[in-house]
Subunit: 284 residues, 2 copies
C-alpha cells in the first residue's frame, strides 16, 4: 500500500484503489498529456512553468475544458503531507468508444493528480557520482514538444540503455542531439555551455529553462544551438536535466569517458543553483 | 449499455463495467500492443495472420509470458454471439509504479479481448461511394511496424482530415507514401498495382497482405515499391485497405479527383475478393 491519496476528477481516492474505464483514450491511444513536478519543502517547484507547458500541450492536442489546476496541485501535496517528492498530473482526452478520430465528439477530460513522497533524494547518488549514457537513434514521433503519454520509444530506449549498464540514452536525429529519453542535454566544449535549441523534436524542459536562466544570471552564457553526435564525443562535459534527476553529469558516453571522466564543474554549478532555489522555497 | 462481455485476464466482465488500474503501463506510456480482427459469419477473418503479427509485436516490445490467444478470440466471439463485427485485443506490459524503464521488472501482461457486433456493414457506404483523403506529413515514430497503442499521431491526423471533410489521411515521410492513419495504401498507375514496401515505417496490414496474395492468384501482379507523393497525384486509382474498412477507393486526394473521380476497378476487385473469402467462412 502506498498510502497516497490521488485526486481523480476532483474525487479523492487511494492511489492503489484507483481504476479507470478502459474507454479512457489514454488506455487505447495514449491520447493524454502529463506533467511531473518536483516537490521541495512541501512546495511544487517551477509550478508556473509546468502550468504554462501543460496549457501548451492541451492546446496542441485540442483538449478543452480543463480548469486551472495549480491550486489542486498545491492541495494534493498538502493532503499527502509530502515534504520531498513529486507530483504526477495526467489529463486524458476523455472516454469514448474506441475510434481514432475525435472529430465531433464532445468529451470530458479525465484528470489525475497524485503526490509521491521521496524517502531519499532521488538524484543524490547520481548527482554525486555522475552517470553513464549511450547514444541511440531518436525513434520518437515528430511532436516531442507536446508532453504526451505516447512514451513507448522513450521506455524501450531507456530500458535498452539500462540493460547495457547506462542510466540514460542520448537521442540522435539525423546526426544531431535532440534530448534524453527523460531529460534534456547540455554540453560544455571549450568553456562554451550549449544545449540543442527548442524545436518540435524537443520537450521544453522546465529544468532546461531554469538552468539556462540561472547560468545567465551567473554571467555564464548558454548557447542554444545544434549539437552533432560527433561533437558530443569531443565534449569536455555533458550533463542532463530533468525535474526528477535535476542536473546530473554524464561521465561516460558510449562506454568512453567524457572529458576527464569526472563529475564536471558545470553540472555541479547547475545542481548548486537548483539546490539554492529549492532551499529558498518556504515551508509555511 | 453495450451488452458486450469482455475477457480481461481470463475473467468475463461486462465491457461497460471494466476498469483497469492506472498503474497499467498502457495508461501511463501507451506500453501495449493490439490487434483488430474482422468477424464474418461468426468467424475471425485472417486469424492466423493477426496471431502471427501479434507475436511479432510482442517480441519487438519484449513483452513475455503471453499464451496463445487464438482460442480465446474464438470463444469471445461465440460468447457474445456476434455474427458480423470485430474483435479488439490489447496486451499491455502490465502494472508497475510509474517509471519509463522496465529493466529488471518481472511484469504480468494485462490481456483484454472483446467482440463488438456491427449493426450494419461498416464499409458498405464508403465501399460503394469511395472516400476523400488528404495527404499529411507522417509524424509517427520510427517503429510503425509494431502495432502499439502509441497512436496519438494517428488520432490527431485522422481527426484533422475529418475536420476537413476527408475520411482518411495518406501519410508522407520524406516525400514517400507510407500508409494511412489506420489503413494501407494501394495505387494503380498505367495498369500497374503498387503499394509501399514493408519497412519500419509501415504496419504489415493483414488486408494488405491478403489483397496482394489474392491479386496474384487472379494473375494481377502487385508491385511493392516506393511511391512518391508526386506520383500519387498522377495515380489512375488509389485505394486503402484495413480490417474494418476492408478495401475502399479514394476518389479525391487533397480535394482533387483521383483518375476519373469514380470508384476504381481495382478497388472493386479487392472488395469482391474479400467478400468472396468472407462468404466462404462457414457458420457452424
Amino acid at each position: 500500500m502506498s498510502g497516497i491519496i490521488a485526486c481523480y476528477n476532483q474525487n479523492l481516492i487511494p492511489l492503489d484503489e484507483l481504476k479507470v474505464s478502459i474507454t479512457d483514450r489514454a488506455f487505447f491511444f495514449g491520447d493524454a498529456v502529463y506533467e511531473v513536478l518536483r516537490v521541495y519543502r512541501g512546495k511544487p517547484f517551477l509550478l508556473e512553468n509546468h502550468h504554462s507547458r501543460l496549457s501548451n500541450s492541451l492546446r496542441a492536442m485540442d483538449i478543452n475544458g480543463v480548469t486551472d489546476l495549480r491550486e489542486d496541485i498545491v492541495t494534493n501535496i498538502a493532503l499527502n503531507q509530502v515534504d520531498e517528492g513529486m507530483v504526477y498530473l495526467q489529463i486524458s482526452r476523455g472516454e469514448a468508444p474506441r475510434n481514432h478520430s475525435f472529430h465531433n465528439l464532445s468529451l470530458k477530460p479525465n484528470i489525475l493528480i497524485y503526490t509521491k513522497p521521496f524517502i531519499e533524494h532521488p538524484s543524490a547518488t547520481e548527482g554525486a557520482l555522475g552517470i553513464a549514457a549511450i547514444t541511440h537513434e531518436d525513434l520518437r514521433w515528430g511532436r516531442c514538444d507536446i508532453k504526451s503519454t505516447n512514451l513507448l520509444a522513450n521506455c524501450l530506449i531507456q530500458t535498452y540503455a539500462q540493460q547495457r549498464g547506462s542510466a540514460e540514452a542520448i537521442l540522435i536525429r539525423q546526426g544531431l542531439v535532440t534530448e534524453g529519453t527523460s531529460s534534456n542535454i547540455f554540453m560544455v566544449k571549450n568553456g562554451q555551455v550549449c544545449t540543442p535549441p527548442l524545436s518540435p523534436n524537443i520537450l521544453p524542459g522546465t529544468r532546461r529553462e531554469f538552468v539556462i536562466r540561472q547560468f545567465l544570471q551567473q554571467g555564464q552564457q548558454v548557447f542554444e544551438r545544434p549539437i552533432s553526435k560527433d561533437e558530443l564525443y569531443t565534449a569536455d562535459e555533458i550533463f542532463i536535466t530533468s525535474s526528477i534527476k535535476e542536473a546530473v553529469a554524464v561521465i561516460k558516453l558510449d562506454y568512453q569517458p567524457v572529458g576527464n571522466g569526472q563529475v564536471s564543474s558545470q553540472a555541479k554549478l547547475a545542481r548548486t543553483l537548483i539546490e539554492d532555489a529549492a532551499s529558498r522555497l518556504s515551508r509555511d
